[in-house]
């Protein structure tokens, strides 16, 4: 079955050279897009990916990554934006560093691009009206 998951990979300093993402595509036939990359060779870091492909291939790929000593976390929570509750103040955009949340320059209304969201949940706390919540993804 085709599936798409958001995952976070945390690397230790020495691991960053491993061409993990390349392997995901080449060996497991997965499609990926990088949502957030925050890596440096001496410090290690964090990579948030959107992976899609055969469910079994995704599972194998994640097992492979874990076997390489990379910390794998499936982001099973999703952020939900309720546009009926939102007052378009923009407070959430102050903390959304992946720019999933932004105000339109023309209409001054908020828009939420779920694909860019790395589920850091900063916006959920920053929203004054409760328009942003986290839910378990299906």
């Amino acid at each position: 079955m085709e599936k798409s998951v958001k995952i976070q990979l945390s690397f230790h300093p020495v691991d960053t050279e491993k061409p993990l993402v390349h392997t995901f595509a080449a060996r497991f036939g997965l499609m990926f897009s990088i949502l957030q990359a925050d890596i440096s060779p001496d410090k290690g870091g964090r990579l948030v990916l959107d992976l899609s492909g055969e469910e079994s291939a995704i599972e194998k790929a994640l097992q492979y990554a874990a076997g390489q000593g990379v910390d794998v976390r499936v982001l099973s929570r999703v952020v939900h934006w309720d546009d009926k509750v939102c007052v378009h103040c923009g407070s959430c955009t102050a903390v959304c560093r992946s720019r999933a949340l932004s105000l339109s320059p023309d209409t001054a209304m908020l828009s939420f691009d779920n694909a860019r969201c790395v589920v850091c949940e900063m916006c959920v706390k920053a929203c004054p009206t409760g328009a942003l919540t986290v839910e378990l993804s299906r």
């Binding site: 007052v87 378009h88 103040c89 923009g90 407070s91 959430c92 955009t93 102050a94 903390v95 560093r97 105000l103 209409t107 001054a108 209304m109 900063m122 706390k125 920053a126 004054p128 009206t129 409760g130």
Partner: protein, 387 residues
């Protein structure tokens, strides 16, 4: 030169030319201030921002047997009952005794305006004329007598842009400020902001009718901490700040489209208050102020990691155009900006007010008295104040 009564005649006749502040900025740039002053009669403004100094007076009506309430809670939020028997004042920032920062006075006010019932719990010591000692009831706005919002400080003329130079995240009333100046927040609707458009308060005074959370409200007094003033830059340009308004209006006529509770993480509860003021275009001088755009209106950047009365100012002149562009430059660093004021709602208010004036539903007022421009600022000397 036009007078307010001439403009009102035109509003009544349906012939007044009404523009929003954004529209007048554009028109003045295209046609000049002189021509604009001739053609336009009224300019409408709007703002929708968290304004902590807000609250409501409520009168519950009398119960049988009578009670002189000495302690009042609404949905577990304490209200001030130190008034007559069944009067209270509920402050927007008061927190629930059971839910803490999740729910406060602002939520009670929003729930009431939304038409919901709230739980009233009252206590009393009992007197000969008011024997009852406790009372519980479910009440809505329509069950009560007079209910009016009385906000001691609203519509701040101008406000600073906030950053955090420390190395830890801080949670402030200006929102979440990331360490090392990784973000900046600001809280004014710029060219739509009411008091930036008549900076010397020529036309606003006590009794001025304003759009107040969907109702027609009034300026009751100068706002608390109203210290009108300006900074003059080297090129002679003035940046006004400091004026505030105390506003009053009928809660029963308000709409949650224009007033909403706000929860500010680790700070507390506040209230988004929607205010709009229509300005008469009396002459070219006033028109020139009304036509000032975001590139001609300025504020400063302050460091909120220093919790002192006067916070360090990191940049003394930054335009609202720059803040709106998405980044602000401080010390050669481009910092992403985010507003706290809803530009969308501020626009909605200016547009709705424009519609009401055009339809003859909203007339302008001659103030009953001027607001003072020479207030003195006092600070509080605590007993442990080292100075």
């Amino acid at each position: 030169m036009k007078s307010i009564s001439e403009i009102n005649e035109k509003i009544r006749a349906g012939t007044a030319v009404v523009l929003t502040a954004e529209e007048v900025v554009k028109m003045a740039r295209e046609q000049g201030v002189r021509e604009t002053a001739k053609r336009v009669d009224v300019v409408t403004t709007g703002t929708f921002s968290p304004m902590c100094s807000s609250g409501a007076f409520l009168n519950f009506g009398h119960a049988e047997p009578l009670i002189r309430m000495s302690g009042v809670k609404l949905n577990d939020v304490p209200a001030c009952a130190g008034l007559a028997a069944v009067d209270c004042f509920i402050g927007a920032t008061e927190l629930s005794e059971t839910r803490g920062m999740e729910y406060g006075g602002a939520h009670v006010i929003e729930d009431l305006i939304a038409g919901k019932k709230v739980h009233l719990s009252a206590r009393s010591y009992g007197t000969d004329c008011y024997p009852r000692k406790s009372l519980e009831a479910e009440i809505g706005l329509s069950d009560m007598n007079q209910c009016f919002l009385f906000n001691p400080r609203n519509a701040y003329q101008n406000y600073n842009c906030s950053v955090n130079t420390s190395d830890r995240i801080i949670h402030t009333y200006m929102g979440t400020l990331l360490p090392h100046m990784a973000n900046a927040t600001y809280a004014t609707a710029g060219e739509l902001s009411p008091l930036l458009k008549d900076p010397e308060l020529r036309t606003i005074g006590i009794g001025t009718r304003v759009f107040f959370c969907g109702a027609q409200g009034y300026v009751a007094w100068e706002g608390t901490q109203c210290f009108p003033g300006y900074t003059e830059y080297e090129d002679g340009v003035r940046s006004y700040s400091g004026a505030t308004l105390a506003l009053i209006g009928d809660m029963k006529k308000m709409s949650t489209d224009y007033i909403r509770a706000a929860r500010i993480y680790r700070y507390g509860v506040s209230m988004f208050v929607g205010v709009g003021i229509p300005f008469p275009v009396l002459d070219e001088d006033l028109c020139a102020q009304l036509s000032k755009g975001n590139d001609e209106l300025f504020t400063e950047v302050s460091d909120y990691s220093v919790p002192l009365r006067s916070r360090p100012v990191l940049r003394t002149r930054v335009s609202y155009r720059e803040l709106r562009s998405g980044t602000v430059e401080v010390d050669g660093k481009k910092i992403p900006t985010a507003p706290m004021t809803s530009l969308k709602k501020s626009r909605d208010i200016a547009n709705e007010l424009k519609r009401q004036v055009q339809a003859g539903e909203f007339l302008l007022t001659e103030p009953a008295a001027k607001l003072p421009l020479d207030t003195t600022k006092h600070v509080l000397h605590a007993l442990d104040d080292p100075q």
